[in-house]
Symmetry: C2
Subunit: 189 residues, 2 copies
DNA sequence: AATTATCTATCTATGAGTAGATTGCAATTG
DNA sequence: CAATTGCAATCTACTCATAGATAGATAATT
């Protein structure tokens, strides 16, 4: 209950990262949002880097949990992919956000090494979870036998991330369009 | 010849944007790179926003020219898409860059309005040029008649942008993989 | 009383941007 | 042809705001 403020800080920081990027917000912005002073933020997260690392780790858990939930609730590949797409479309609908992964990856070279490493793990494993869905789908004959599950997963992941970014900048429904056509192209034949 | 410095400034700024993002570089960085003082940069580009706008406009011309060249040199859809992919893979191979479009779009909400507008134009028209290739390909029977050229173009654009971002952050060959499988999925049947 | 969490006040570095002097070159004119 | 004016481009030196971060006092919990 007392570290509720930590959650609120992470929530606010996540929104700022997803809209402005890591270099696009300050402890001052964060302090204003949460209603405390910047010095108090340093108590919880000594350096901005610590906050960013905690943020990516928490987001990793969020995605991981969402993927597990999808696996438990749906068996068909089509439904599972629908679920995956929903994770990312959920970002956009809430305050024109993009995924934490691509928000940070876009500024990759300017990020502290620790953040780069966490980010690498987030992206690699996210692709892995999607690949797992494709592998099971392949066994069930839901995709052509010739297709490589890992390659399909990389395509889906890249396309979803890209669509989010494009959708926000052009204020269009790219994400839904991309999801639709990807389903058509990958499922069954 | 005298505005060569302007070109050098734009070149350096573009590299910085493609690696660190708009909020991730300063006039100081730029000055160091080009070998003049920050005040001199202000002579050519009074505000950072002016520089960013000029940058996106120049990049727009670069992409536009590249697309026209592709149209002139190749007639088959497959070859044209290969050319489009090459535009973006060219970024990565040079200093781990990503496309100017996604670099800026990731920080969208923190960008000056003028830059947002130029960016919108860049992305919208880029998708349009790719859609044009798909329309011609459809007439030539190179894609299934049921497919929507505009939707395929959006998919390709989103996937290429996303793949660049992911490839850099994970140091993988995602871009090549994505291009390959997209070709398989979209061309002929 | 000890611990946790917040505050005020301050530091140092860096951010974008401005004022005004200075340099260098090219056209103009005596 | 030489001196002079004029302009483009750069410089030094500065401003003011913000950035992340620290020290140490203080309030709130337990």
């Amino acid at each position: 209950m007392s570290d509720d403020i930590k959650t609120r800080l992470l929530d606010a920081a996540q929104l700022l990262v997803q809209t402005h990027g890591h270099n696009g917000y300050s402890y001052r912005d964060l302090a204003t949002q949460v209603g405390i002073r910047t010095a108090s933020i340093h108590y919880h997260f000594p350096a901005k880097t610590d906050l960013a690392v905690a943020l990516v780790r928490r987001y990793y858990e969020f995605v991981s949990t969402a993927m597990k939930k999808i696996e438990g609730e749906h068996t068909s590949l089509a439904k599972r992919l629908e679920g995956v797409a929903a994770i990312y479309s959920g970002c956009l609908s809430a305050n024109h956000r993009i995924c934490v992964a691509s928000a940070l990856a876009a500024e990759y070279s300017s990020l502290p090494r620790e953040v780069q490493e966490e980010l690498n793990r987030l992206i690699t494993d996210s692709q892995g979870w999607i690949a797992h869905f494709f592998e099971e789908g392949k066994k069930r004959g839901e995709i052509l036998p010739a297709r490589d599950p890992a390659a399909l997963a990389r395509l889906w992941y890249a396309a979803l991330q890209g669509a989010l970014v494009v959708a926000r900048a052009t204020d269009t429904t790219v994400l839904a369009d991309v999801t639709n056509i990807l389903q058509q192209l990958t499922i069954q034949g």
